[in-house]
């Protein structure tokens, strides 16, 4: 696999406190690499170091095989960035904003016109071309932010929490757009603290905490790191302590918790667990409203590795 980004032993200190601690990873061509971690874990700082915006204490960074410097204009032409904070001109319309940022990369007028239209279509802002940013909802503003970052059709795209505080419709639109970008051949680095997005989008995931990589791999590889392999949830009001004790004794059960009419059973292995629970409930004539099985989430992995929830 071709490496698009190579990061070796990256360390960044703020006043002797390590914001990034000896990070090493690669980004492969055509993949979506997710950076998952709570706020303050070092995701944005890592991206800012890669993009040569921030000084760092030590380490080496290469993009497309070349060292990234502030004046690496040949590399910058191939990179698109969407920051967490919306970075557009309040005084320019949707079309003008996209045309402006695209125009700083693309000289040819006809090509630029097409690229701008493509970007507007990608994020679904066709009806809002003449709107000013302050006239847009939070979700539409985020879409504009993305369009400004990717309108020049970059080969490598950094998306830093692009869906923070957006409505579900805009979020779906944004995630669909990112999938399209990858389908068109872009390599994407995606940071978020929403584990659901990582699970939907990313080929590989790096989990960060306090500036350190605590785990990395595909979704399945990461979930294998958790002791829990399956979780069954039952919504019922007919349970007492005796039932709970008996459920804990069922095969492969790791933990059983009952609170506010919801029973959660965790398993060490996936072996007909749902069938066993249904059998137990039937045999004890316990009525239930809902029952479902889930695989462990990345939050479970994070909880297990750090002892805290991802969104703490």
């Amino acid at each position: 696999m071709e490496n698009i980004v190579e990061v070796k032993n990256l360390t960044k200190e703020y006043k002797k406190k390590k914001a990034i601690d000896d990070l090493s990873f690669d980004v492969y061509k055509g993949e979506i690499l997710g950076f998952l971690g709570p706020n303050g874990s070092g995701k944005s700082t890592t991206i800012n170091c890669i993009l040569a915006l921030l000084n760092f204490s030590k380490g080496k960074i290469k993009i497309f095989g070349k060292e990234m410097k502030p004046n690496s204009y040949d590399l910058k032409k191939k990179i698109g960035v969407v920051f967490q904070d919306v970075a557009v001109f309040e005084e320019l319309t949707v079309f003008e904003n996209i045309d402006y940022f695209c125009g700083l990369y693309i000289d040819d007028k006809n090509t630029r016109k097409k690229y701008v239209e493509d970007a507007i279509n990608l994020v679904g802002l066709q009806e809002f071309k003449k709107y000013y940013p302050k006239q847009l909802s939070g979700g539409l503003l985020r879409r504009l932010n993305i369009a400004c970052g990717i309108s020049h059709k970059p080969q490598l795209i950094f998306l830093d929490e692009p869906t923070v505080a957006v409505d579900p419709q805009s979020r779906n639109n944004i995630l669909d757009g990112i999938k399209k970008l990858r389908a068109e051949g872009a390599t994407i680095v995606y940071t978020t603290h929403y584990m659901e997005e990582v699970e939907i989008l990313c080929d590989r995931v790096i989990i960060l905490d306090k500036g350190k990589i605590i785990a990395s791999g595909t979704n399945d590889e990461l979930k294998d790191l958790a002791n829990i392999k399956e979780r069954i949830t039952v919504e019922t009001k007919d349970l007492d302590n005796n039932h709970l004790n008996e459920i804990t004794q069922l095969p492969e059960v790791f933990e059983a918790l009952y609170e506010d009419g919801i029973l959660k059973i965790s398993y060490k292995n996936e072996k007909n667990n749902l069938e066993n629970v249904i059998d137990y409930l039937k045999s004890n004539q316990i009525k239930y409203r809902k029952i479902y099985s889930e695989r462990p989430t990345l939050n479970d992995v994070f909880l297990e590795l750090t002892g805290k929830e991802l969104r703490d």
Binding site: L51, P70, V81, F83, D107
Partner: protein
């Protein structure tokens, strides 16, 4: 890329209502306000002669020049009489002052004259100023007398505000040592308009500050994005600054058209030189804005506040809130007005209005260019930074 950034920065600046108000509309509104306020004052206000006393000691009695000057200034037949002078013993002068019957008295001696006042007002300032000018002048008695006559007799209309204008004129004249002054009469209103144009030039600094902040990753989110485009920082900064400068010049031209063309304020007839001075003044304002933005570590709002504050302070020292302040600064801390761009602009206008030669005007133009070069040097030094410690 240069033109693309210029075009959209220009559009964005021009659509920013706050910026357009402060840099273009506000000076125009102030011009209308000045015209209404000062025209009325100049027409209605009459100047009452100031009650003063001169201690008639041996030194005064033996100095013909002093006696002549005070006699001329205190002549009740003169419609521009400045002083109502009593010639008394020192004890009596003290009593008159304590009783509030005079605003001050002066004791002449071989050393510097001593002026006694009980409070600081306009009358007291005029009195002190005239005494100092008479004594410090190296001119002959005839020239002093001629000047005094010229300044206090040749005014088209008498009045308090014109008298302040005369003081300004006299002050400038003595400083420059140029004797062949024209017959032009500079009114107080015109001086106020000079400072207004100076303020408008320096307010352009806000345009410089905003346009440059859009290019800097540590200032704005847009700056962060622009820092990652394949366009060099110098190209971005220059094209953005140029956009701000063009808008600023547009505002200045509008102000000059309103002031000279519509409100008929007499700036003299050297229009090309007036425009060149405004262009140089605007450059000083713009570069000051860029230097503050790049050189000071503070929030965007704090930097705008600093810029407005510094501009107002320069204009205050240049006499915007009363020409007496300009005199006080020139006399006591001359270095301030030597480096004050607002003062260089007003002084340049004054030189154009009053003198036939362009020497003094050129001195101010060169001064503004040096000021701009220093501001640019500060900005370039600050902009060298390619990466940041934090964002």
């Amino acid at each position: 890329m240069f033109f693309k950034n210029f075009k959209y920065t220009f559009k964005a600046l021009l659509r920013n209502r706050g910026l357009v108000f402060w840099t273009i509309a506000f000076p125009l509104i102030m011009a209308l306000f000045f015209k209404m306020a000062f025209s009325g004052i100049e027409e209605k206000e009459t100047f009452d002669a100031i009650n003063v006393a001169v201690v008639s000691n041996e030194y005064f009695e033996n100095d013909g020049i002093l006696k002549d000057v005070f006699r001329t200034l205190s002549d009740p037949e003169n419609e521009d009489q400045v002083f109502n002078t009593s010639y008394v013993e020192e004890g009596e002068a003290k009593e008159l002052l304590q009783d509030g019957k005079i605003d001050g008295y002066v004791v002449f001696s071989e050393n510097a004259p001593k002026v006694f006042v009980t409070k600081n007002g306009v009358n007291q300032t005029i009195f002190k100023f005239v005494v100092e000018e008479i004594v410090q002048s190296s001119d002959t008695a005839d020239i002093i007398q001629a000047k005094v006559e010229k300044m206090f007799k040749e005014q088209n209309s008498g009045g308090f505000w014109n008298t302040l204008g005369m003081i300004f004129a006299m002050m400038q004249e003595n400083r420059s040592n140029i004797k062949d002054i024209s017959d032009a009469n500079l009114s107080y209103m015109t001086i106020e308009f000079y400072t207004l144009v100076a303020m408008a030039c320096l307010y352009g600094g806000i345009l410089g500050a905003v346009s440059i902040s859009w290019c800097l990753a540590n200032m704005t989110n847009v700056g962060k994005r622009l820092s990652l485009t394949p366009v060099s920082k110098i190209k971005l900064v220059l094209s953005s600054a140029l956009a701000g400068y063009v808008i600023q010049l547009f505002g200045i031209v509008l102000l000059l058209i309103l002031t000279i063309g519509v409100l008929k304020v007499d700036f003299g007839n050297k229009i090309p030189q007036i425009v060149i001075l405004s262009v140089a003044g605007s450059m000083a304002g713009l570069t000051m804005g860029i230097a503050v933005t790049t050189g000071i570590k503070a929030s965007e709002n704090a930097k705008t506040g600093i810029l407005i504050g510094v501009t107002m302070l320069w204009c205050f020292f240049a006499g915007m809130m009363g020409v007496v302040m300009k005199y006080v600064i020139d006399k006591n801390i001359p270095i301030i007005n030597k480096i004050n761009p607002a003062n260089m602009i007003t002084d340049g206008f004054y030189a154009l209005y009053y003198y036939d030669t362009l020497d003094r005007y050129m001195t101010n133009i060169v001064g503004l260019c040096i000021f701009s070069a220093i501001m640019l040097a500060i900005a370039i030094f600050s902009l060298r930074k390619q990466k940041y410690e934090s964002l």
